[in-house]
Symmetry: C2
Subunit: 268 residues, 2 copies
């Protein structure tokens, strides 16, 4: 759905050198955005993104042409942003979290390489990083990402499940703290349970796990549980699942805290 | 070295409930800081940190009491921040990058748990996330963190080398993009070569590697090379080494770009 669609003049395509900023807006609230993201948004003539993310930006989008699309339409969104920039516009393509971590930036470069369109190659592209969901969750929990960690997407829509299984097994073997993105959806119900079982092969059932949902947005919630008791049904696409390593500790208190020591004190 | 040391009144310790914000300031420039980090700095009475990082903050520290310390003095810094907060001050403890990713946040919680001092337990603690070095590097390179990745510190000062070796082997086996923090220092010259060899057991010598140094600061540099040709001597403690997965691609151009596809197009 495009509101106030920009008039694209085909005669201009490839003539002027537009710009494309692929912007990570962080968890969603203005507090979590960098000054660089704000400046890139302010300088844009056109903003392209999933409707919910554009709504989160509120007044930052005043006087800009909005191009909204639905949740699954990543490729259409990236193409539209490239076409607008090729026509000379100053385009902001909005990603939640960090645009480079499970965001839209990589899709933009993939499209440019595969399609080899000269007018896309001329676009000046900036990727603006942001606070990813695992970081927003970690900061509210304490410091669970305080030592070595990995990020794994459980979505097998675009990655074969055996590749994901191999990564989960390696993460378990390497005793990494693990951030699970895209853990579960209406269509994908089995992956999170399988991930839990692969991790349990190397980790105690008492290993702390955090479920962080909608951080920085309305309805934010965060829950600490264990790997053995992981409530699969409480997890959806908006949840980030953070699984501790063997060293991750739960510090009781109000609020309770999770942290993974670097070992500063252990050495003494 | 403490400039303008704060007068600590022992009679106040444990009486008032001070605050401690452990703040990730991102790569270094103001553009890379979140609004939340700026607000936390603005609200602080006292700022504790490594001198270089405090210098990066410039005018944001006007009218605040600065407590500087040297590069290696992490524990002393965290203790000082806790003591000041316990005395009722509003303390900002400054970390580069993300305070929760190889930053000072985890050390604060470790000290609180180990030492069980009631006056530290009463402190209201906020962790403020920020853009970590791997994200700053990735955004300038394109989107090398576009799919599953892990972060590994090569410092064996606090972690036994066999644990690090096991993580490197797992990262290689799992075909993760790998961000290597603390890759090399004057005292630690062998770890990066050993890491390269462990990764080469599962990855082609042509695998792209990026060396990012001093991003967001004076003297910033970024270089793209390969795993087989990795110039060990060009790497120091200020360098972030980013090693591609088997899927990471180099897109020639000005500038050249690195990206790791999620597979959106591969599925068609």
């Amino acid at each position: 759905v495009a509101r106030a669609p920009a008039p694209l003049d085909p005669a201009q395509i490839g003539r002027s050198r537009g710009t494309l900023a692929v912007i990570g807006i962080g968890p969603g609230d203005a507090a979590g955005r960098t000054a660089e993201a704000d400046a890139a948004l302010a300088g844009a003539s056109d903003v392209v993104g999933y409707g919910l993310y554009l709504d989160l930006l509120g007044p930052a989008l005043d006087a800009k042409t909005r191009h909204e699309s639905g949740l699954g339409a990543e490729e259409a969104r990236a193409r539209q942003a490239l076409d607008l920039a090729a026509a000379g516009r100053r385009v902001a393509l909005v990603s939640s979290g960090d645009a480079g971590i499970y965001g839209l930036a990589t899709l933009v470069f993939e499209l440019i390489e595969r399609e080899a369109r000269p007018e896309w190659r001329r676009i000046a592209i900036d990727v603006v990083p942001g606070v990813s969901a695992m970081q927003a969750a970690a900061s509210r929990l304490g410091a669970p990402l305080g030592h070595d960690f990995c990020a794994i997407s459980l979505s097998d829509l675009l990655t074969p499940w055996p590749v994901i299984e191999r990564r989960l097994a390696a993460a378990a073997e390497g005793d990494f703290v693990v951030a699970l993105y895209n853990p579960r959806s209406e269509q994908r119900q089995t992956q999170l349970g399988a991930a839990r079982d692969l991790l349990l092969a190397h980790r105690q059932p008492e290993t702390p796990v955090a479920l962080a949902r909608n951080l920085g947005r309305a309805g934010e919630s965060i829950e600490i549980t264990t790997l053995g008791a992981l409530p699969l049904d409480a997890v959806d696409m908006l949840t980030l699942v953070l699984v501790g390593s063997s060293a991750t500790r739960l510090l009781p208190g109000t609020p309770p805290r999770l942290y993974t020591p670097r070992g500063y004190l252990a050495k003494r």
